[in-house]
Protein backbone atom coordinates (compact mmCIF):
# COMPACT_ATOMS: atom_id res chain seq x y z
CA UNK A 1 0.00 0.00 0.00
CA UNK A 2 2.83 2.41 0.90
CA UNK A 3 4.63 1.74 -2.37
CA UNK A 4 1.75 1.97 -4.81
CA UNK A 5 -1.62 3.07 -3.40
CA UNK A 6 -0.51 6.14 -1.45
CA UNK A 7 1.71 7.53 -4.25
CA UNK A 8 -1.14 6.93 -6.69
CA UNK A 9 -3.59 8.78 -4.45
CA UNK A 10 -1.11 11.64 -4.00
CA UNK A 11 -0.64 11.90 -7.78
CA UNK A 12 -4.41 11.84 -8.32
CA UNK A 13 -5.05 14.52 -5.69
CA UNK A 14 -2.29 16.83 -6.92
CA UNK A 15 -3.30 16.41 -10.55
CA UNK A 16 -6.97 17.07 -9.90
CA UNK A 17 -6.15 20.19 -7.87
CA UNK A 18 -3.95 21.54 -10.66
CA UNK A 19 -6.66 21.01 -13.29
CA UNK A 20 -9.56 22.34 -11.24
CA UNK A 21 -7.57 25.40 -10.14
CA UNK A 22 -7.51 26.53 -13.78
CA UNK A 23 -11.31 26.81 -13.77
CA UNK A 24 -12.08 27.55 -10.12
CA UNK A 25 -10.08 30.60 -8.86
CA UNK A 26 -10.54 29.78 -5.14
CA UNK A 27 -8.23 26.78 -5.68
CA UNK A 28 -5.37 28.91 -7.04
CA UNK A 29 -3.55 29.14 -3.64
CA UNK A 30 -3.61 25.32 -3.44
CA UNK A 31 -2.26 25.11 -6.98
CA UNK A 32 0.56 27.51 -6.12
CA UNK A 33 1.41 25.51 -3.01
CA UNK A 34 1.46 22.24 -4.98
CA UNK A 35 3.85 23.81 -7.45
CA UNK A 36 6.12 24.99 -4.63
CA UNK A 37 6.11 21.49 -3.07
CA UNK A 38 7.17 19.99 -6.41
CA UNK A 39 9.98 22.57 -6.66
CA UNK A 40 11.25 21.47 -3.23
CA UNK A 41 11.18 17.80 -4.28
CA UNK A 42 13.04 18.59 -7.49
CA UNK A 43 15.73 20.43 -5.53
CA UNK A 44 16.14 17.49 -3.11
CA UNK A 45 16.52 15.14 -6.07
CA UNK A 46 19.78 16.90 -6.95
CA UNK A 47 21.34 15.39 -3.81
CA UNK A 48 20.13 11.93 -4.75
CA UNK A 49 21.65 12.34 -8.21
CA UNK A 50 24.98 13.46 -6.84
CA UNK A 51 25.11 10.47 -4.54
CA UNK A 52 24.38 8.05 -7.37
CA UNK A 53 26.99 9.67 -9.58
CA UNK A 54 29.63 9.19 -6.89
CA UNK A 55 28.58 5.60 -6.28
CA UNK A 56 28.58 4.57 -9.95
CA UNK A 57 31.91 6.11 -10.80
CA UNK A 58 33.69 5.08 -7.60
CA UNK A 59 32.60 1.50 -8.28
CA UNK A 60 33.89 1.72 -11.82
CA UNK A 61 37.25 2.98 -10.61
CA UNK A 62 37.57 0.40 -7.82
CA UNK A 63 36.64 -2.44 -10.22
CA UNK A 64 39.04 -1.05 -12.85
CA UNK A 65 36.36 -1.56 -15.50
CA UNK A 66 37.00 -0.41 -19.07
CA UNK A 67 36.95 3.38 -19.23
CA UNK A 68 37.67 3.85 -15.49
CA UNK A 69 39.97 6.77 -16.28
CA UNK A 70 36.97 8.74 -17.54
CA UNK A 71 35.28 8.03 -14.23
CA UNK A 72 38.31 9.45 -12.40
CA UNK A 73 38.02 12.64 -14.43
CA UNK A 74 34.29 12.82 -13.73
CA UNK A 75 34.83 12.40 -10.00
CA UNK A 76 37.63 14.96 -9.91
CA UNK A 77 35.52 17.50 -11.82
CA UNK A 78 32.46 16.86 -9.65
CA UNK A 79 34.27 17.17 -6.34
CA UNK A 80 36.48 20.00 -7.55
CA UNK A 81 33.70 22.27 -8.81
CA UNK A 82 31.54 21.45 -5.78
CA UNK A 83 34.36 22.47 -3.48
CA UNK A 84 35.09 25.66 -5.45
CA UNK A 85 31.44 26.69 -5.24
CA UNK A 86 30.66 25.57 -1.67
CA UNK A 87 33.82 26.96 -0.08
CA UNK A 88 33.82 30.04 -2.34
CA UNK A 89 37.42 29.49 -3.41
CA UNK A 90 38.89 32.53 -5.12
CA UNK A 91 35.88 34.71 -4.31
CA UNK A 92 36.55 38.40 -3.91
CA UNK A 93 35.00 39.87 -0.76
CA UNK A 94 32.26 42.46 -0.99
CA UNK A 95 33.20 46.14 -0.55
CA UNK A 96 30.89 46.35 2.49
CA UNK A 97 32.62 43.41 4.22
CA UNK A 98 36.27 43.40 3.08
CA UNK A 99 37.38 41.05 5.86
CA UNK A 100 34.70 38.42 5.14
CA UNK A 101 35.63 36.43 2.03
CA UNK A 102 32.61 34.13 2.43
CA UNK A 103 30.27 37.11 2.07
CA UNK A 104 31.23 37.49 -1.60
CA UNK A 105 29.17 36.18 -4.52
CA UNK A 106 30.60 32.85 -5.71
CA UNK A 107 29.48 33.65 -9.28
CA UNK A 108 31.00 37.14 -9.43
CA UNK A 109 33.59 37.83 -12.10
CA UNK A 110 37.06 36.74 -10.98
CA UNK A 111 35.90 34.00 -8.60
CA UNK A 112 37.05 30.40 -9.02
CA UNK A 113 33.55 29.30 -10.00
CA UNK A 114 33.35 32.05 -12.60
CA UNK A 115 36.62 30.90 -14.17
CA UNK A 116 35.37 27.30 -14.35
CA UNK A 117 32.13 28.48 -15.94
CA UNK A 118 33.66 30.92 -18.46
CA UNK A 119 36.69 28.91 -19.54
CA UNK A 120 35.64 25.27 -19.12
CA UNK A 121 31.86 24.80 -18.98
CA UNK A 122 30.80 27.42 -21.54
CA UNK A 123 33.30 26.39 -24.26
CA UNK A 124 32.59 22.68 -23.73
CA UNK A 125 28.82 22.98 -24.06
CA UNK A 126 29.17 25.35 -27.02
CA UNK A 127 31.50 22.81 -28.66
CA UNK A 128 29.04 19.92 -28.30
CA UNK A 129 26.19 22.10 -29.57
CA UNK A 130 28.25 23.25 -32.55
CA UNK A 131 28.76 19.63 -33.60
CA UNK A 132 25.18 19.84 -34.85
CA UNK A 133 26.35 21.88 -37.85
CA UNK A 134 28.56 19.00 -38.98
CA UNK A 135 25.97 16.34 -38.27
CA UNK A 136 23.29 18.27 -40.16
CA UNK A 137 25.58 18.37 -43.19
CA UNK A 138 26.31 14.64 -43.07
CA UNK A 139 22.62 13.83 -42.48
CA UNK A 140 21.65 16.05 -45.43
CA UNK A 141 24.12 14.26 -47.72
CA UNK A 142 23.02 10.81 -46.60
CA UNK A 143 19.29 11.06 -46.05
CA UNK A 144 17.78 13.70 -48.34
CA UNK A 145 17.09 11.61 -51.44
CA UNK A 146 14.33 12.29 -54.00
CA UNK A 147 12.82 8.81 -53.77
CA UNK A 148 9.20 9.81 -54.29
CA UNK A 149 6.92 12.82 -54.80
CA UNK A 150 6.79 13.73 -51.11
CA UNK A 151 10.58 13.63 -50.89
CA UNK A 152 10.86 15.88 -53.96
CA UNK A 153 8.48 18.40 -52.38
CA UNK A 154 10.51 18.25 -49.19
CA UNK A 155 13.74 18.87 -51.11
CA UNK A 156 12.26 21.81 -52.98
CA UNK A 157 11.05 23.37 -49.74
CA UNK A 158 14.43 22.73 -48.14
CA UNK A 159 16.20 24.55 -50.97
CA UNK A 160 13.85 27.55 -50.70
CA UNK A 161 14.24 27.81 -46.93
CA UNK A 162 18.01 27.22 -46.89
CA UNK A 163 18.59 29.94 -49.47
CA UNK A 164 15.80 32.24 -48.36
CA UNK A 165 17.17 32.54 -44.82
CA UNK A 166 20.42 34.03 -46.13
CA UNK A 167 21.57 36.87 -48.39
CA UNK A 168 21.69 34.36 -51.27
CA UNK A 169 17.92 34.35 -51.35
CA UNK A 170 17.78 38.10 -51.83
CA UNK A 171 20.52 37.94 -54.48
CA UNK A 172 18.99 35.11 -56.55
CA UNK A 173 15.54 36.70 -56.89
CA UNK A 174 16.55 40.36 -56.81
CA UNK A 175 15.31 40.71 -60.39
CA UNK A 176 11.70 40.33 -59.15
CA UNK A 177 9.88 43.52 -58.08
CA UNK A 178 9.58 44.31 -54.35
CA UNK A 179 5.83 44.90 -54.59
CA UNK A 180 2.99 43.27 -56.47
CA UNK A 181 2.12 39.63 -57.04
CA UNK A 182 5.57 38.72 -58.34
CA UNK A 183 7.12 39.95 -55.07
CA UNK A 184 5.66 36.86 -53.40
CA UNK A 185 8.09 34.74 -55.41
CA UNK A 186 11.15 36.47 -54.05
CA UNK A 187 12.95 33.78 -52.03
CA UNK A 188 12.92 35.72 -48.75
CA UNK A 189 9.16 36.34 -49.05
CA UNK A 190 8.53 32.76 -50.16
CA UNK A 191 10.44 31.57 -47.07
CA UNK A 192 8.27 33.69 -44.79
CA UNK A 193 5.13 32.41 -46.53
CA UNK A 194 6.23 28.78 -46.18
CA UNK A 195 7.05 29.24 -42.48
CA UNK A 196 3.79 31.07 -41.75
CA UNK A 197 1.48 28.81 -43.74
CA UNK A 198 2.32 25.17 -44.57
CA UNK A 199 4.87 24.79 -41.74
CA UNK A 200 2.59 26.44 -39.18
CA UNK A 201 -0.38 24.39 -40.38
CA UNK A 202 1.60 21.14 -40.15
CA UNK A 203 2.97 22.07 -36.74
CA UNK A 204 -0.47 23.01 -35.46
CA UNK A 205 -1.81 19.63 -36.58
CA UNK A 206 1.02 17.76 -34.87
CA UNK A 207 0.67 19.94 -31.76
CA UNK A 208 -3.08 19.29 -31.54
CA UNK A 209 -2.48 15.54 -31.81
CA UNK A 210 0.28 15.70 -29.22
CA UNK A 211 -1.85 17.84 -26.89
CA UNK A 212 -4.68 15.32 -27.08
CA UNK A 213 -2.23 12.47 -26.52
CA UNK A 214 -0.76 14.29 -23.52
CA UNK A 215 -4.22 14.94 -22.11
CA UNK A 216 -5.19 11.30 -22.62
CA UNK A 217 -2.07 9.93 -20.90
CA UNK A 218 -2.48 12.46 -18.07
CA UNK A 219 -6.10 11.42 -17.63
CA UNK A 220 -5.10 7.76 -17.51
CA UNK A 221 -2.57 8.57 -14.79
CA UNK A 222 -5.12 10.61 -12.83
CA UNK A 223 -7.70 7.83 -13.05
CA UNK A 224 -5.13 5.23 -12.03
CA UNK A 225 -5.43 3.34 -15.33
CA UNK A 226 -1.76 3.89 -16.21
CA UNK A 227 0.56 3.12 -13.31
CA UNK A 228 3.85 2.83 -15.20
CA UNK A 229 5.25 5.83 -13.31
CA UNK A 230 5.02 3.75 -10.12
CA UNK A 231 7.47 1.25 -11.56
CA UNK A 232 5.89 -1.41 -13.72
CA UNK A 233 3.24 -4.03 -12.96
CA UNK A 234 -0.38 -3.44 -11.99
Amino acid sequence: MMKRTIPMLLAMAAGIVMILAYFFPPLTPLQDKTTVWFNILAAVAFILGGGNLLKVHLKKVSDRREGWAYSMITLAAFVGVLAIGLFKIGVNPLDEFPAQRMAGDFRAEGSGFWYVYEYVFAPLTATIFSMLAFYVASAAFRAFRAKNLEAILLLGTAFVILLGRTAAGVFLTDFLPEEGILANFRLENLTVWIMNNPVTAGNRAIMIGIALGTASVSLKILLGVDRSYLGGGD
Binding site: D32, T35, N39, F134, A137, F141, L162, T166, A167, N203
Partner: protein
Protein backbone atom coordinates in the same frame (compact mmCIF):
# COMPACT_ATOMS: atom_id res chain seq x y z
CA UNK B 1 34.07 9.62 -59.43
CA UNK B 2 30.89 7.74 -58.65
CA UNK B 3 32.68 5.36 -56.24
CA UNK B 4 34.42 8.27 -54.55
CA UNK B 5 31.13 10.08 -53.94
CA UNK B 6 29.28 6.92 -52.96
CA UNK B 7 31.89 6.02 -50.33
CA UNK B 8 32.56 9.61 -49.27
CA UNK B 9 33.98 9.73 -45.75
CA UNK B 10 31.96 11.81 -43.30
CA UNK B 11 35.15 13.58 -42.32
CA UNK B 12 35.37 15.14 -45.78
CA UNK B 13 31.91 16.62 -45.27
CA UNK B 14 32.90 17.81 -41.80
CA UNK B 15 36.04 19.48 -43.21
CA UNK B 16 34.05 21.24 -45.93
CA UNK B 17 31.60 22.54 -43.32
CA UNK B 18 34.49 23.77 -41.15
CA UNK B 19 35.91 25.68 -44.11
CA UNK B 20 32.50 27.07 -45.07
CA UNK B 21 32.06 28.50 -41.58
CA UNK B 22 35.64 29.57 -40.87
CA UNK B 23 36.49 31.44 -44.09
CA UNK B 24 33.75 34.12 -43.87
CA UNK B 25 34.52 34.67 -40.20
CA UNK B 26 38.21 35.15 -40.90
CA UNK B 27 37.49 37.45 -43.85
CA UNK B 28 35.00 39.40 -41.68
CA UNK B 29 32.28 39.51 -44.33
CA UNK B 30 28.98 41.10 -43.20
CA UNK B 31 26.09 40.90 -45.67
CA UNK B 32 23.23 43.47 -45.39
CA UNK B 33 19.97 42.54 -43.68
CA UNK B 34 16.34 43.49 -44.24
CA UNK B 35 13.86 42.95 -41.42
CA UNK B 36 10.85 40.68 -41.92
CA UNK B 37 7.44 41.71 -40.52
CA UNK B 38 7.59 39.37 -37.51
CA UNK B 39 10.87 40.94 -36.34
CA UNK B 40 9.70 44.42 -37.19
CA UNK B 41 6.64 43.88 -35.00
CA UNK B 42 8.89 42.89 -32.11
CA UNK B 43 10.91 46.05 -32.62
CA UNK B 44 7.82 48.27 -32.88
CA UNK B 45 6.37 46.77 -29.69
CA UNK B 46 9.40 48.01 -27.76
CA UNK B 47 9.51 51.28 -29.69
CA UNK B 48 5.92 51.98 -28.63
CA UNK B 49 6.90 51.98 -24.95
CA UNK B 50 7.49 55.18 -23.01
CA UNK B 51 10.41 56.11 -20.77
CA UNK B 52 10.04 54.41 -17.37
CA UNK B 53 7.82 51.54 -18.64
CA UNK B 54 8.60 48.16 -17.14
CA UNK B 55 10.04 45.25 -19.12
CA UNK B 56 10.47 41.78 -17.64
CA UNK B 57 13.54 40.32 -19.29
CA UNK B 58 13.86 36.56 -18.94
CA UNK B 59 17.14 34.98 -20.08
CA UNK B 60 16.32 31.29 -20.47
CA UNK B 61 19.35 29.93 -22.27
CA UNK B 62 22.78 28.43 -21.68
CA UNK B 63 26.28 28.64 -23.18
CA UNK B 64 25.46 25.96 -25.73
CA UNK B 65 22.89 28.18 -27.42
CA UNK B 66 24.63 31.47 -26.65
CA UNK B 67 26.05 31.49 -30.17
CA UNK B 68 22.55 31.88 -31.53
CA UNK B 69 20.86 33.76 -28.70
CA UNK B 70 23.46 36.08 -27.16
CA UNK B 71 23.24 38.60 -30.04
CA UNK B 72 19.48 38.93 -29.60
CA UNK B 73 19.82 39.18 -25.82
CA UNK B 74 22.36 41.98 -26.26
CA UNK B 75 20.12 43.72 -28.80
CA UNK B 76 17.12 43.47 -26.45
CA UNK B 77 19.07 44.96 -23.54
CA UNK B 78 20.51 47.74 -25.67
CA UNK B 79 17.11 48.62 -27.11
CA UNK B 80 15.56 48.73 -23.63
CA UNK B 81 18.40 50.96 -22.42
CA UNK B 82 18.08 53.31 -25.39
CA UNK B 83 14.37 53.65 -24.64
CA UNK B 84 15.17 54.28 -20.93
CA UNK B 85 12.89 51.47 -19.81
CA UNK B 86 13.00 49.85 -16.39
CA UNK B 87 14.54 46.40 -16.82
CA UNK B 88 13.78 43.48 -14.51
CA UNK B 89 16.18 40.60 -15.25
CA UNK B 90 15.32 37.01 -14.35
CA UNK B 91 16.32 33.51 -15.43
CA UNK B 92 14.63 30.13 -15.39
CA UNK B 93 17.80 28.26 -16.40
CA UNK B 94 20.52 27.77 -13.77
CA UNK B 95 23.19 29.31 -16.01
CA UNK B 96 20.98 32.25 -17.05
CA UNK B 97 22.29 34.58 -14.29
CA UNK B 98 25.70 34.56 -15.93
CA UNK B 99 24.23 36.14 -19.05
CA UNK B 100 22.43 38.70 -16.91
CA UNK B 101 25.78 39.65 -15.38
CA UNK B 102 27.31 39.80 -18.85
CA UNK B 103 24.54 42.17 -19.96
CA UNK B 104 25.08 44.36 -16.90
CA UNK B 105 28.81 44.46 -17.47
CA UNK B 106 29.02 44.68 -21.27
CA UNK B 107 25.99 46.80 -22.13
CA UNK B 108 24.65 48.73 -19.15
CA UNK B 109 27.83 49.58 -17.20
CA UNK B 110 29.83 50.28 -20.32
CA UNK B 111 27.44 52.16 -22.62
CA UNK B 112 24.73 53.36 -20.24
CA UNK B 113 26.62 54.29 -17.03
CA UNK B 114 23.84 56.70 -16.02
CA UNK B 115 21.56 53.72 -15.28
CA UNK B 116 21.40 52.99 -11.56
CA UNK B 117 20.92 49.52 -10.11
CA UNK B 118 17.66 49.35 -8.20
CA UNK B 119 16.22 52.36 -9.97
CA UNK B 120 16.66 51.59 -13.66
CA UNK B 121 17.46 47.87 -13.66
CA UNK B 122 17.39 45.01 -11.19
CA UNK B 123 18.58 41.41 -11.24
CA UNK B 124 16.01 39.11 -9.65
CA UNK B 125 18.17 36.07 -10.41
CA UNK B 126 17.44 32.42 -11.09
CA UNK B 127 14.56 30.47 -9.58
CA UNK B 128 14.19 26.71 -9.82
CA UNK B 129 10.81 25.23 -10.71
CA UNK B 130 10.54 25.72 -14.48
CA UNK B 131 6.98 26.60 -15.50
CA UNK B 132 6.00 26.55 -11.82
CA UNK B 133 7.85 29.84 -11.44
CA UNK B 134 5.93 31.37 -14.33
CA UNK B 135 2.61 30.24 -12.85
CA UNK B 136 3.55 31.79 -9.54
CA UNK B 137 4.77 35.14 -10.88
CA UNK B 138 1.63 35.39 -13.00
CA UNK B 139 -0.25 35.81 -9.72
CA UNK B 140 2.26 36.85 -7.09
CA UNK B 141 5.77 37.91 -7.99
CA UNK B 142 6.80 39.22 -4.59
CA UNK B 143 6.37 35.85 -2.86
CA UNK B 144 8.47 34.16 -5.51
CA UNK B 145 11.22 36.80 -5.33
CA UNK B 146 11.52 38.00 -1.73
CA UNK B 147 14.96 39.37 -2.54
CA UNK B 148 17.03 40.11 -5.63
CA UNK B 149 20.12 38.21 -6.78
CA UNK B 150 22.35 40.37 -4.55
CA UNK B 151 20.37 39.53 -1.42
CA UNK B 152 18.59 42.91 -1.09
CA UNK B 153 15.03 42.52 0.21
CA UNK B 154 12.60 43.37 -2.52
CA UNK B 155 10.80 45.97 -0.40
CA UNK B 156 14.07 47.95 -0.27
CA UNK B 157 14.39 48.19 -4.07
CA UNK B 158 12.78 51.40 -5.35
CA UNK B 159 11.78 50.06 -8.77
CA UNK B 160 9.92 47.12 -7.18
CA UNK B 161 7.36 49.50 -5.68
CA UNK B 162 3.93 48.81 -7.12
CA UNK B 163 4.98 45.54 -8.73
CA UNK B 164 2.79 42.66 -7.57
CA UNK B 165 2.69 40.27 -10.51
CA UNK B 166 3.62 39.88 -14.16
CA UNK B 167 0.54 41.92 -15.08
CA UNK B 168 2.28 45.04 -13.79
CA UNK B 169 4.82 44.85 -16.61
CA UNK B 170 4.34 46.39 -20.02
CA UNK B 171 6.24 43.75 -21.98
CA UNK B 172 7.91 40.41 -21.30
CA UNK B 173 11.09 40.04 -23.34
CA UNK B 174 12.18 36.42 -23.36
CA UNK B 175 15.25 34.80 -24.89
CA UNK B 176 14.69 31.06 -24.93
CA UNK B 177 16.73 28.01 -25.85
CA UNK B 178 14.18 25.33 -25.02
CA UNK B 179 12.40 24.26 -21.86
CA UNK B 180 11.40 26.20 -19.89
CA UNK B 181 11.10 28.99 -22.41
CA UNK B 182 8.84 30.99 -24.67
CA UNK B 183 6.23 28.27 -25.00
CA UNK B 184 5.84 28.14 -21.21
CA UNK B 185 5.67 31.94 -21.02
CA UNK B 186 2.85 31.87 -23.59
CA UNK B 187 1.01 28.98 -21.94
CA UNK B 188 1.24 30.08 -18.32
CA UNK B 189 1.77 33.86 -18.35
CA UNK B 190 0.12 35.23 -21.48
CA UNK B 191 -2.76 32.71 -21.36
CA UNK B 192 -3.55 33.72 -17.77
CA UNK B 193 -4.15 37.35 -18.82
CA UNK B 194 -4.13 37.65 -22.63
CA UNK B 195 -5.23 41.29 -22.62
CA UNK B 196 -2.78 42.42 -19.96
CA UNK B 197 0.50 40.84 -21.00
CA UNK B 198 2.55 41.41 -24.16
CA UNK B 199 5.34 39.02 -25.07
CA UNK B 200 8.28 39.52 -27.41
CA UNK B 201 10.65 36.60 -27.74
CA UNK B 202 13.85 35.35 -29.30
CA UNK B 203 14.39 31.64 -29.85
CA UNK B 204 16.61 29.08 -31.54
CA UNK B 205 15.90 28.10 -35.15
CA UNK B 206 14.66 24.65 -34.17
CA UNK B 207 12.00 26.07 -31.85
CA UNK B 208 10.78 28.71 -34.26
CA UNK B 209 8.22 26.59 -36.21
CA UNK B 210 6.58 25.69 -32.90
CA UNK B 211 6.25 29.32 -31.90
CA UNK B 212 5.00 30.79 -35.20
CA UNK B 213 1.41 29.69 -34.40
CA UNK B 214 1.46 32.00 -31.38
CA UNK B 215 2.16 35.08 -33.51
CA UNK B 216 0.52 37.60 -33.55
CA UNK B 217 -2.17 36.71 -31.00
CA UNK B 218 -0.18 35.53 -28.02
CA UNK B 219 3.19 36.98 -29.10
CA UNK B 220 3.76 40.47 -30.43
CA UNK B 221 6.92 39.48 -32.29
CA UNK B 222 9.50 36.76 -32.62
CA UNK B 223 13.21 36.69 -33.41
CA UNK B 224 13.86 33.28 -34.91
CA UNK B 225 17.46 32.08 -34.82
CA UNK B 226 20.50 34.13 -35.74
CA UNK B 227 18.68 35.56 -38.77
CA UNK B 228 16.08 37.10 -36.50
CA UNK B 229 18.85 38.46 -34.28
CA UNK B 230 20.59 39.98 -37.31
CA UNK B 231 17.36 41.61 -38.49
CA UNK B 232 16.65 43.04 -35.05
CA UNK B 233 20.21 44.33 -34.78
CA UNK B 234 19.83 46.04 -38.16
CA UNK B 235 16.68 47.79 -36.88
CA UNK B 236 18.28 48.86 -33.58
CA UNK B 237 21.42 50.06 -35.36
CA UNK B 238 19.31 51.84 -37.95
CA UNK B 239 17.54 53.82 -35.24
CA UNK B 240 20.19 54.19 -32.53
CA UNK B 241 23.45 53.44 -34.29
CA UNK B 242 26.49 55.54 -33.47
CA UNK B 243 29.89 55.96 -35.05
CA UNK B 244 32.41 53.23 -34.20
CA UNK B 245 29.67 50.91 -33.11
CA UNK B 246 31.08 48.20 -30.78
CA UNK B 247 31.36 44.80 -32.41
CA UNK B 248 29.11 43.08 -29.89
CA UNK B 249 26.07 44.97 -31.26
CA UNK B 250 26.70 43.46 -34.70
CA UNK B 251 27.38 39.84 -33.77
CA UNK B 252 24.19 38.62 -35.37
CA UNK B 253 24.96 40.45 -38.60
CA UNK B 254 28.49 39.04 -38.62
CA UNK B 255 27.21 35.49 -38.29
CA UNK B 256 25.03 35.72 -41.37
CA UNK B 257 28.03 35.26 -43.67
CA UNK B 258 29.03 31.83 -42.29
CA UNK B 259 25.33 30.92 -42.31
CA UNK B 260 25.19 31.83 -46.00
CA UNK B 261 28.19 29.70 -46.92
CA UNK B 262 27.04 26.83 -44.69
CA UNK B 263 23.60 26.79 -46.29
CA UNK B 264 25.06 26.90 -49.79
CA UNK B 265 27.30 23.97 -48.87
CA UNK B 266 24.28 22.02 -47.62
CA UNK B 267 22.36 22.71 -50.81
CA UNK B 268 25.39 21.46 -52.73
CA UNK B 269 25.65 18.33 -50.56
CA UNK B 270 21.97 17.52 -51.04
CA UNK B 271 22.42 17.96 -54.78
CA UNK B 272 25.49 15.70 -54.87
CA UNK B 273 23.78 13.14 -52.63
CA UNK B 274 20.87 12.93 -55.03
CA UNK B 275 23.27 12.66 -57.96
CA UNK B 276 24.87 9.64 -56.30
CA UNK B 277 21.42 8.19 -55.63
CA UNK B 278 20.29 8.48 -59.26
CA UNK B 279 23.61 7.13 -60.54
CA UNK B 280 23.22 4.15 -58.21
CA UNK B 281 19.68 3.58 -59.44
CA UNK B 282 20.88 3.67 -63.02
CA UNK B 283 23.46 1.01 -62.18
CA UNK B 284 20.85 -1.03 -60.37
CA UNK B 285 22.59 -0.68 -57.01
CA UNK B 286 19.88 1.33 -55.18
Amino acid sequence: MYEFLRDLDRRVIFSLMALAVAVPILLQITPPEKATPIVRDAFETIEALEEGDRVYMAFDFDPASAGELQPMATAFVRHACEKKLKIYFTALWPVGPQFIKNAERDVISRDFPEMVYGENYVDLGFKTGNEGVIKLVANDLRTQYPQDARGTPIDDIPMMAGVASIRDFDVIMNVSAGYPGTKEWVQYAVASAPNDIKLVAGCTGVQAPLLYPYYPQQMSGLLAAIKGAAEYESLVLGKYGRENEPGMYQEGLRRMAPQLSGHILMVGLIFVGNLVYFMARKRGEA
